[in-house]
Symmetry: none
Subunit: 228 residues, 2 copies
Amino acid sequence: MSARILVIEDNADLAQGIAYNLKLEGYDVRITPDGRAGLDEAVRWKPDLILLDLMLPGLDGFEVLRALRGDGSRIPVIILSARAEEADKVRGFKLDADQYVTKPFGVLELLERVAALLRRTGHTATPREETLTFGDVRIDLACRTVAKAGQEITLPPKAYELLLALVRRHGAVISRHDLLREVWGYGASVVSRTVDTHVAELRRKLEDDPTTPRHILTVWKIGYRLHS
Amino acid sequence: MSARILVIEDNADLAQGIAYNLKLEGYDVRITPDGRAGLDEAVRWKPDLILLDLMLPGLDGFEVLRALRGDGSRIPVIILSARAEEADKVRGFKLDADQYVTKPFGVLELLERVAALLRRTGHTATPREETLTFGDVRIDLACRTVAKAGQEITLPPKAYELLLALVRRHGAVISRHDLLREVWGYGASVVSRTVDTHVAELRRKLEDDPTTPRHILTVWKIGYRLHS
DNA sequence: GCAGTTCCGACACAACTTCGTCACCTCTCC
DNA sequence: GGAGAGGTGACGAAGTTGTGTCGGAACTGC
């Protein structure tokens, strides 16, 4: 049985996007657009994890969380907030939130945290692989480390997330647009060479011969593709 | 239930052509020829996706989009524009368009983008086939790769799309005119050797003996036909 | 502040597309 | 069945477009 995740978020598009990605991971997902309904659903449906926006119509996120904890519920909660302010963060943790993620965030990062939190709380629903490999490259998800031919390689955060995005859809073509959205969390497409720059970095560090890549391939006019 | 698509486009021929192809894909399609009516329809019918021309009588495309977003609507929008100017593009994305396609465009490309966008927003209406084959050639749609006898072959964008167009109507004769329209988005009365050139490329790469093609056949004075 | 990282624009280059030419082939008509 | 007309295949040159790369600016965490 797959883990149940409740998304309490009023921005429908964002909620849909998150839900889509969570479903792809095999989770059972429900969405509620406001605090009151979210609280009801949390009590009735008993999800294994809650993603909670702070800015909500009706009851705001803090109140939802307080009400939940007041009932003695120990459901793990990840707060999604537009505000990075320390005060909010502290307030969130005081109310026993488990994670605090500030927008804009990469979907991959969120998925990673969800998986980690579920693992920790024992709902290891989809026993995900702890390591991924292609060619002579091995990625250790838990340690967040990458090794090529046994040799550990340091990748900056963005490069690492980009690599994850490529590996997750291993084999399929992914457009720059999608990569920007998944890794950077940009709304719409931005014209920039950012993706290319980071791809170049990955090639430099992971390919035997960066000038003739054998794994991180360019698909003309479309994007990139990872090939084992 | 099939996804609903609203086409706001004043060029009746173009709109009909697009609608025809979308319906073939199984979508529920409506057309409105001007901005005001389009906006009304968008609000009342609540489509899952909107194809929006910029040059419209009455309200222009930008205004329609602004009005939509102003209402808080998050319906995905693909802008169809005759102008490729960067300024328009930026303006479109500023108003939160999801895609920006410049005319002339191939219908296949448009279908591809529509499917991708619907998939992303969760309206994964038609779980499309993953691979297509004829003879010893296999086309992997997700990877956008073509393999002959297990050997991977690289095809440039136009050649790939041309191949898709032929495979889609596998067995039937397709005129150069239709191919130009579907793949290139050219209107009627365009004469050019472009199709022939790309067919030659496909034969060179996919036929055992390119001089006596067994799959990509010429139909005299008509066009081409794909035979398994 | 300093080192590391991220982002962006400029430029050169490479891949791709298109077009023109010529030879050859298919069909038609006599 | 041969000659002519017009369609098609092959090839290469020119033009167009997208990508790789590099260096610097802005930013962040220490």
